[in-house]
């Protein structure tokens, strides 16, 4: 154990030097773009910012799928010439019941329904299960596998939309990632008050253009195929809107906030894509003189009367907009609609000055702890304690190097982890020094005592560190948020401390012994 070949010596020193170099990117800005420049990132609790955990509302995804399936079923049956039927949606069972009242049209109905499955996008797994009963009832169930795929697609699409909306607000370096089955993490560095972003993300922003039903009696229940929807900014006044969507917001290519040149009102100007332009032209041509409704998330934002066919694919939404609300709507329309509503299930926001306070407090604690541990080692272990102290410093550098390489996030608990690692790193040296002291007492020569001391302490060091390592790997696996930063710093610290305590400190001792050849060890 006490012989270091030249190669080994240089390897140990080389690792330390490499560690030092890898720490440097944290102190300087990258000089060029092509150089790999990995640094430790500060967590939101230290630099200030907002963390939002969003949940995708899966029941809405399922409901929409079933509703559209129901609509399709009705249409196919009518096309097949079947008129006497009842289609009912059973949301809890995720299925659709179709009852045909003409006994002789059972077979035709079944064939017609089969088309539903065939009509889904080619290449996609058939997601409908059919079941016929003797009394003429057809049950169409969404298959669990397909439901799962649909849910995953909804989350993926939501992430994309969330990213676009957040990007529109100009937040720098946002992190948007999936968590678990139906959750999305949004991290917004530097955002102290996430209210505006929460508002942007809280809207599904599904915009539809629909015709109104001017004949509907507003006092009774809505007739089939018509909804009574509230008008935005008109104090709860409702308007009868046909359920059928004529043009969807997905057919927009652009939307910009602007001011009406005549009255200075805030408006949102939009442009349709080719399909939307064509559809809109047809609708407006057929309905001149009638109002149509622009519906956003079940609220009518505007219901203008069509004066002339609109064929240019451009339009303007005017409502009771302010500059801010017009801008927000244009952002939402540009980014696209969410497949399902999002709910904020967890929010953590920290202002930058609290983060700065935390860094200061952590830095003071780190400095004081470092000094206390060093003094302890010097007082109780003398020269060998100083070797351990230098190794401790190297350990700190190596930890920073590995955390930089991993581009790890340093959180407040992570700083506590660094401090605890300092206390633990010297433990290995204590075990070694105590063992050497014991072997000296047993009458061994200095070199022999050092040799045996290292050898025997080694397995104890591995055993005691392995258990702590395992405990923190578990914490990383199960923990969430800043506490994972704690688990990361401690596990990294355990690995580096074994290296510095058993290799670097030993190298110091060997070099010192070789140059001084003492007859007694200072233990």
């Amino acid at each position: 154990m006490m012989y270091f070949s030249r190669l080994k010596t240089w390897t140990v020193l080389g690792v330390c030097l490499a560690g030092l170099l890898l720490c440097l990117p944290n102190l300087f800005a990258p000089p060029t773009n092509w150089m790999p420049w990995r640094t430790i990132h500060l967590g939101l609790d230290l630099r200030g910012g907002s963390y939002l955990l969003l949940e995708v509302d899966m029941t809405t995804v399922m409901k929409e799928r079933l509703d559209s399936l129901g609509d399709n079923a009705r249409q196919t049956l009518r096309r097949a010439g079947i008129t006497r039927f009842v289609v009912s949606v059973q949301q809890a069972q995720q299925r659709l019941l179709v009852r045909i009242n003409d006994a002789d049209k059972q077979a035709a109905a079944m064939t017609a329904q089969r088309e539903l499955a065939a009509a889904t996008v080619p290449g996609q797994r058939p997601d409908l299960l059919f079941d016929t009963q003797d009394d003429g009832q057809i049950t169409i169930t969404l298959s669990p596998v397909a439901l799962k795929e649909r849910a995953a697609a909804a989350v993926a699409q939501s992430i994309e939309i969330v990213r676009r909306r957040v990007d529109e607000t100009g937040v720098s370096e946002p992190i948007i990632a999936r968590q678990g089955d139906a959750r999305i993490i949004v991290q917004l560095p530097g955002i102290e008050d996430p209210n505006r972003i929460k508002q942007l993300l809280g809207k599904t922003a599904r915009m539809t253009f629909r015709l109104t039903d001017e004949t509907a009696n507003m006092t009774g229940a809505p007739p089939p195929g018509v909804d009574f929807l509230p008008m935005e900014g008109k104090g709860g006044q409702k308007i009868a809107v046909r359920r059928r969507v004529e043009v969807d917001g997905a057919n927009l290519t652009d939307a910009r906030a602007g001011q009406n040149s005549q009255n200075g009102e805030w408006v949102v100007n939009f442009t349709f894509d080719s399909l939307g332009t064509r559809r809109f032209a047809e609708i407006s041509r057929a309905n001149v003189g009638h109002p149509f409704a622009i519906v956003l998330d079940d609220k009518v934002i505007s219901a203008p009367v069509i004066r002339e066919p609109i064929t240019g694919g451009r339009g303007q939404i005017s409502g009771s907009f302010t500059a801010a609300s017009a801008t927000d709507l244009s952002v939402l329309l540009r980014a696209g609609a969410l497949p399902a509503p999002l709910t904020v299930v967890e929010e953590r926001s920290v202002g930058p000055e609290l983060g700065a306070d935390a860094i200061r407090a952590g830095a003071i604690a780190l400095a004081v702890g470092f000094v206390l541990v060093m003094v302890f080692m010097a007082v109780f272990y003398g020269l060998f304690g100083w070797f351990a102290n230098v190794a401790l410093l190297a350990n700190l550098i190596l930890m920073a190097a590995i955390l930089s390489l991993l581009e790890a996030t340093l959180t407040l608990p992570g700083m506590a982890g660094i401090l605890l690692t300092l206390g633990m790193a010297v433990d290995a040296n204590i075990l070694i020094n105590e063992r050497i002291r014991e072997e000296v007492r047993n009458g061994r020569s200095p070199l022999n005592a050092m040799e045996v001391g290292f050898q025997r302490a080694f397995s104890t060091i591995i055993d005691s560190n392995a258990t702590a390592f395992l405990a923190h790997v578990m914490l990383f696996a199960f923990g969430a948020g800043p506490v994972r930063g704690f688990a990361v710093t401690i596990t990294v610290g355990i690995v580096t401390s074994i290296f510095t305590a058993t290799m670097l400190a030993r190298l110091f001792m060997v070099r010192w012994y070789a140059s001084t050849r003492p007859s007694v060890l200072p233990v």
Partner: protein, 321 residues
């Protein structure tokens, strides 16, 4: 200071009979742990926001905070607060609200608080918002407990592989006793039990195991070295030989945690106090709990394992104690 050590932690050739105090040690530990378990059920832990759900907002008012006015404004918004109190300086206020029934309601409350603050003292800034919904807090709690449970299991398996099973059982029983005491400490001090605290308890488990491994390692070595020494004497000898290590390793972690408790700020000081308590408990349990348990479990088995050929004398010698 630069060459020879100035002090010794433990004098050489210490010869103290720890095992004489084994019943006292176990009794004290059992009483403390039972008391802790009782405290866990009543009054219970003060769950932090991670595990309980709810809202905590730290705000800074432009002038000295008018607590009465803020309270009035909050109840004006129809909000029931759990606490509105000053902390640190005159213009810093912490507002706590209970978990709402739904996630969406929680978000509504957060914006209502902002409105109320703006009405009470215009220019008030919200420095920190923590709002955790009920379903998330349940999951965080479940995951935290899973981390604790799996760590204990992993440690059990590891020690089992590296030592005889008696060591593993002794270590894990001691760890459970340590953890219950740490829980009792949290119940008494009313420190918030949250994810960071789970980190503290896991760290205590890790360090406490370190201590046990050091003592057990020496026992294993001495079992091979002194084949006929009664187990009781052998355990005392092993503890005496390793006391310097046990105290030294614990002291360094203690010294590293102390500044965190004193200057670490509100988030980390609770964590650090829990650590400090755990280090003291873990160190004493290595000596007074882990070793006696081994003595009870291992009186016959360990001797026979260590010396299969001429087991009889060893067993009878150990059996006398």
């Amino acid at each position: 200071m630069f060459m020879r050590p100035m002090f010794r932690l433990v004098p050489d050739n210490l010869n103290f009979h720890y095992m004489r105090g084994r019943f006292l040690g176990l009794a004290v530990s059992a009483v403390l742990s039972i008391a802790s378990v009782c405290l866990f059920f009543y009054p219970g832990l003060s769950l932090g926001i991670d595990f309980k759900g709810g809202i905590i907002m730290e705000v800074k008012t432009p002038a000295a905070a008018d607590i009465g006015k803020i309270r009035a404004a909050l109840s004006g918004q129809g909000l029931r607060t759990e606490g509105v109190q000053r902390f640190g300086d005159d213009s810093s206020v912490a507002i706590r609200l209970e978990a709402q029934t739904t996630e969406a309601a929680t978000q509504v409350v957060v914006s209502k608080v902002r409105t109320a603050l703006e009405a009470a003292q215009p220019g008030t800034r919200v420095l920190r918002t923590d709002a955790v919904g009920a379903s998330v807090s349940n999951e965080l709690f479940r995951d935290g407990m899973a981390a604790l449970g799996f760590s204990l299991a992993m440690i059990l398996v590891y020690i089992w592989f590296r030592f005889e099973w008696q060591f593993a059982v002794g270590a894990v029983v001691t760890l459970i006793l340590d953890v219950t005491k740490a829980i009792g400490f949290l119940a008494v001090t009313r420190l918030d039990f949250d994810l960071v605290m789970v980190g503290a308890i896991l760290t205590i488990i890790g360090y406490s195991t370190n201590d046990k491994v050091v003592v057990y390692d020496r026992m294993r070595e001495n079992l091979r070295k002194y084949k006929t020494m009664p187990l009781r004497e052998l355990i005392d000898l092993s503890i005496n030989e390793t006391l310097g290590r046990t105290l030294g390793t614990s002291l360094t972690v203690f010294l590293a945690s102390l500044p965190l408790a004193l200057f670490g700020g509100s988030t980390l000081s609770g964590f650090a106090w829990c650590m400090l308590f755990g280090i003291v408990v873990g160190t004493s349990s290595s000596i007074f709990i882990a070793a006696p348990i081994l003595l009870f479990l291992g009186e016959h088995r360990l001797r026979r394992d260590a010396q299969p050929a001429k087991a009889e004398p060893g067993v009878s010698a150990a059996g006398d104690s």
